[in-house]
């Protein structure tokens, strides 16, 4: 097992008090995106450092999409789909769940760490739940520190290609 880079965690380079983790939230059209939209309409406050990617269904999210987000430096990824049993396409969210589990294993083996990726399930009416889940992952990732991929010194980045 590869050890996670030591530059993660409290006190890591680049992590000041004002450090805001970048979170990518893949939201399914029928539940999570609607819940996020509702949270917006109700003017509920949630951390602004979450970028929402609108997807037709969580079952449409390829494992590569998530890995790509991490490779490009996302600190955390949230996949938000319908409640189990409530998927508009019947079992898209159940498939997503298995894929997320697999990507979490990959992230552990790679050294990014599984805890930066999380799947949540909620219905379209649950704006408060959406806000809470976003706050939770922001909190988790804040504790983990920045994605270690971002901490590779610029020199090595140049050497890479």
């Amino acid at each position: 097992m590869i050890q996670p880079a030591q530059t993660t965690g409290p006190g890591a380079a680049g992590e000041g008090h004002d450090w805001q983790p970048q979170i990518i939230a893949f939201c399914c059209n029928f539940c999570a995106y609607a819940a996020a939209d509702l949270a917006g309409s109700k003017r509920m406050q949630y951390p602004p450092n979450v970028r929402i990617v609108h997807t037709p269904c969580t079952g449409k999210i390829e494992m590569e999409h998530i890995l790509d987000a991490f490779e490009k430096g996302a600190d955390g990824v949230l996949v938000a789909g319908c409640l189990e049993g409530g998927c508009h396409f019947l079992e898209g969210n159940l498939r997503a769940k298995k894929r997320i589990e697999h990507v979490r294993e990959i992230l552990d083996q790679v050294g990014i760490g599984a805890n930066r990726l999380r799947m949540v399930n909620l219905s379209a009416a649950e704006a408060p739940t959406f806000v809470r889940r976003v706050q939770e992952i922001v909190q988790t990732v804040r504790e983990l520190g920045p994605n270690p991929i971002k901490n590779i010194p610029a020199q090595q980045e140049q050497d890479e290609l």
Partner: protein, 222 residues
């Protein structure tokens, strides 16, 4: 088809650790169907290796290509330019495909990205089972089309061994007893009397014990 499974990310990372430019080659046939070495699996492994290497402060540039079949020169030749541009190749084909690439590119390290498992079939979604060991002298006609050489844990040609329980093999309760299957199948096709036949010891000369085998079909040779 040939069934394979992926090597782990740490193992592959170790295998390619001394190379800075690596070509990952997927195969579009058996290993695509068994979800081990097709375009998607290669792409996921590329992400994983790139990130793992970057975190180890030893970045790697990865190029990926998937060809229709890695066991045929006709398709392999499309790789020439990409192989030239890279220091090493990881082949996500069965062991035959890996060796075909190694033969075609004699000056380039070619590594296996998969563990080749067996000749088998898709039993249910994402579950594959072994059906044939390629023994070179097929006896399926005697056993109702169920291979005891492969599927009986004791490879018994005159079974059953007497240890099966509730249709399951005594060696592995998760596996059906091959001889129970043979018995049922012979009954279903009206050949139960074959159970009375004593099958003589198998002629293993055509099997793998004396090294790699070769098939030559004179009528198709030019």
């Amino acid at each position: 088809m040939i069934v394979a499974s992926p090597k782990s990310i740490p193992e592959l990372k170790e295998i390619i650790q001394s190379h800075q430019k690596v070509l990952l080659v997927g195969c579009g046939t058996c290993v695509t169907v068994c979800l081990a070495g097709g375009e998607r699996e290669v792409s996921i492994m590329a992400y994983a290796l790139r990130m793992a290497r970057k975190l180890a402060s030893n970045p790697v540039r990865i190029e990926q290509i998937t060809i229709e079949r890695q066991c045929e020169n006709e398709f392999i030749k499309d790789l020439t330019a990409a192989v030239d541009r890279n220091e090493a190749v990881v082949s996500f084909a069965c062991g035959a495909g890996v060796q075909a690439l190694a033969e075609r590119f004699p000056n380039k390290p070619v590594y296996a990205g998969l563990n080749t498992q067996f000749l088998g079939i898709l039993e249910e979604q994402a579950v594959w089972t072994e059906k044939c060991m390629a023994c070179g002298d097929c006896l399926l006609h005697k056993f109702g089309g169920i291979c005891p050489v492969t599927r009986c844990a004791k490879r018994m040609l005159n079974g059953p061994c007497g240890g099966s329980q509730e249709d399951h093999c005594e060696v592995d309760p998760d596996r059906p007893c091959a001889w129970q299957l043979i018995y049922k199948r012979l009954g279903a096709i009206g050949q139960l009397d074959r159970m009375e036949d004593i099958v003589p010891p198998k002629d293993w000369r055509n099997a793998w014990h004396a090294g790699a085998r070769k098939v030559v079909r004179k009528e198709h040779r030019t």
